[in-house]
Amino acid sequence: MISVVNTKDILNCVGDPFIKEITLDSPITKEIIFKLGEGGELEYLDRLKKPFFKISYSENYLIKGVEGNNSLRVILKDPELKNGDLVIKKGFNYLLSVLEYI
């Protein structure tokens, strides 16, 4: 099982309200990416040596990262959305539930 070793809130210049960076104890594999992708709409740039992925979920959050790296981000899609923190929590919990079965 892959575990989360750290989480960090990120603030960016354009003022996106909720971005959580999650560090895992091992690299993100293609298997994890496609497993995460089952719950949403997956964009997978496999033309890159280290492929980038971004998954958009109907619950208003995104998960993005790069295959082979140890960190990924959960991002609120709509900056105007109320209770963004709860949406991010939902995204984080979804991530944990997928990692549990890897």
């Binding site: 210049c13 354009v14 740039l45 033309r47 890159l48 980038f52 993005k64 790069v66 960190s71 981000r73």
Partner: protein
């Protein structure tokens, strides 16, 4: 790692800066004037740096050059320490938040009026509006010398002449230009110039300063008072410069780095540094200009010798491009509004840069191969 975010802070620093700081840490740490006798500071590094930087900007009286933690502190002192007479400040839409936020703060709850001069799509200010604005009485005319968004350089000699004609104080934010463009305080009729040390002066972060004219000093109060090492029995801050604005222990290591950073710029020459940076930007421009998915900010400024390559990519957010560059290619660039939010209503077309830009800024130490790697990465991301 390929570092292309030199407008934020330059990296790496020149070897002489690194060596000087390392040696100083190994020999002693602190203000050399305290370590020596304390009554003669003519030859300590702080005095030498003050002389060197004053000379660099053609400041006749070196004690009018004050050390601070950087441009933000300098500009806060300028804007919040002033005794406003006409209660009117003219500035431009190209300003950084280090100017805008102190201005909004003094404006709040007061009758101070702010007038903003617009710029064109490349970031050059509108002289017709400027002429109209200066015809009404004002206290300050504050302008960002070099834009950190487009790379445009304002003609400060021409503007200084106009501002002086109307008897206002002429203020320059030289955060991006100090060390990157020649600045002559005398020629440009400047009353105040704010600069930072960690960008194109190649010092470390946490050091910078300002120049203040004797005339402006009469109506500009210090924001902090305290120990100066002189006139310790007096209850008020010594009026003499630089002590009037330099309370507290100075950033000795920062000043030391600044001394050697400025020496590096002088030795290399501003012209050579500019030429190199533009050559690096031209590599990106020539490689990427014909890709239809890529929108480039102000190609005119690049062609005029600019040192910023800013762009965005259709169908990608700027944040995703920056993220991919960092995580997949180990290339550091920056996205966003670059702390100059007003400018984005003026550059580009059809609000194409309304979510900011991706900014690539090389330094004198950037290599051709690093720029080519950046271009390769962008092409791979776009799928060319």
């Amino acid at each position: 790692m390929i570092y292309l975010n030199n407008s934020a802070t330059t990296y790496p620093k020149p070897p002489e800066v690194i060596n000087a700081i390392s040696n100083a840490f190994l020999s002693y740490e602190g203000d050399s004037s305290r370590l020596f006798s304390g009554d003669s500071i003519d030859n300590d590094i702080i005095s030498l740096a003050r002389k060197k930087i004053a000379n660099f900007f053609n400041i006749k009286k070196e004690n009018n050059l004050i050390f601070t933690s950087g441009s933000t502190e300098s500009l806060n002192l300028l804007i919040r320490g002033f005794e406003y007479q006409h209660r009117r400040i003219i500035t431009t839409v190209t300003e950084h938040n280090s100017v805008l936020r102190p201005l909004y703060r003094v404006q709040k709850g007061s009758s101070i009026e702010l007038s903003f001069i617009p710029c064109d799509g490349d970031g050059y200010i509108d002289f017709d509006v400027l002429s109209k604005e200066v015809s009404k009485p004002f206290d300050y005319f504050i302008i960002n010398h070099a834009s950190n968004v487009t790379g445009s350089i304002q003609n400060i000699e021409k503007i200084g002449e106009i501002v002086k004609h109307y008897n206002g104080f002429f203020i320059i934010d030289a955060s991006q230009s100090a060390g990157a463009e020649s600045i002559d305080i005398e020629k440009s009729n400047v009353d105040f110039i704010a600069f930072t040390g960690h960008k194109s002066l190649y010092g470390v972060s946490g050091i910078g300063g300002f120049y203040v004219s004797d005339e402006l000093k009469k109506v500009l109060n210090p924001l902090k008072v305290g120990g100066t090492g002189v006139r310790s029995l007096e209850k008020t801050q010594p009026q003499e410069l630089p002590f009037y604005y330099e309370a507290g222990t100075k950033n000795y290591m920062g000043i030391l780095s600044l001394y050697h950073g400025v020496s590096f710029v002088e030795k290399t020459s501003i012209e050579a540094i500019k030429k190199h940076k533009n050559r690096m930007v031209q590599i990106a421009f020539n490689n990427l200009k014909n890709i239809k998915e890529i929108n480039i900010v102000s190609p005119n400024v690049i062609q005029k010798g600019g040192s910023i390559f800013a762009f965005n990519v259709n169908n990608f957010t700027n944040e995703d491009i920056v993220y991919i560059l960092k995580e997949s290619f180990d290339i550091i660039v920056r996205s966003g509004y670059h702390c100059a939010p007003l400018m984005f209503d003026y550059i580009g077309y059809d609000k194409i840069f309304s979510r900011g830009t991706i900014r690539v800024t090389p330094s004198y130490f950037t290599t051709e191969s690093e720029m080519e790697s950046f271009c390769f990465a962008i092409k791979e991301i776009v799928g060319i």
